[in-house]
Symmetry: C2
Subunit: 157 residues, 2 copies
């Protein structure tokens, strides 16, 4: 089975609430390439409500955020011609997050995220994302992800 | 004790993951006026991590989102010269959310949100927010909140 972007994260980065495989309380999203786009699916829980019948916007923002920083890292490996997970790791943090909520997102079906790399340099990746429910785009996101500053990189990898 | 903005929500709006007093799994943020600004404090849990030592950006986005829509509603009541919680209720949803992560947000101390009304009309409120940790601004947010469309208002209030 194909490993997700997040399954390649080094130990120090596996605790993220949104995408860390080792965060027992978290969302544990999993992202994959689909050609030049990246995708992720997430099943909201019954309590991820905005109000009855609709998905919480903060969850949507969180999914877009983590899927985008994961996509930024994967894109950096791809651009460098390197395998994901090889050392030294590429890791990104969010400089800015923008979400347009185009229509209410109905609660029930899985949420599907589909992202594109709008721009990539050594230090920065801009990722744009559509969030869809059963084929309908309900939100659009744009994340500016930047390489994690050296002084924040945990020493043990 | 002063009631928070969220404590005035009618029943149908009390289930929000971010700010619903009745969501047992949620963040249950509480917002208050401080003069012309609105404030909220939130204690992150140990699992709200981005990576060890730092707060998850999706949590920050969620707090800014809910504090802002709550502030939008409170501002609409104030503008109308009405008590919060009086009928018919003013409720807002997020049209767009923007967060600039200015620096990493250290895990440990409570997060303090402080918001201003940048613009208010009958249908729209724009709220800008600083998020601070021990007096240092680590993130800034801007939310465009719109009056909830009539067809989405639950019938039973």
């Amino acid at each position: 089975m194909e490993k997700s972007f997040q399954d390649h994260y080094p130990e120090s980065y596996r605790h993220c609430y949104g995408c860390g495989p080792d965060n027992d309380h978290g969302l544990r999203i999993k992202s994959y390439w689909d050609g030049d786009e990246s995708i992720a699916d997430f099943q909201p829980q019954h309590y991820h409500l905005a109000f009855p019948g609709y998905v919480y916007g903060g969850l949507i923002a969180s999914l877009i955020d983590c899927h985008s920083t994961g996509t930024a890292a994967a894109a950096a490996y791809r651009r460098a011609g390197r395998e994901q997970g090889s050392s030294p790791p590429f890791r990104f943090v969010t400089a800015s997050l923008h979400v347009d909520y185009l229509k209410p997102t109905p609660m029930g079906p899985p949420l599907h995220l589909r992202s594109r790399i709008a721009e990539i340099t050594d230090k920065k990746v801009i990722v744009t994302t559509d969030l869809l429910v059963e084929g309908t785009i309900t939100a659009r996101g744009k994340v500016v992800a930047v390489r994690i500053p050296e002084h924040l990189v945990p020493e043990k990898e």
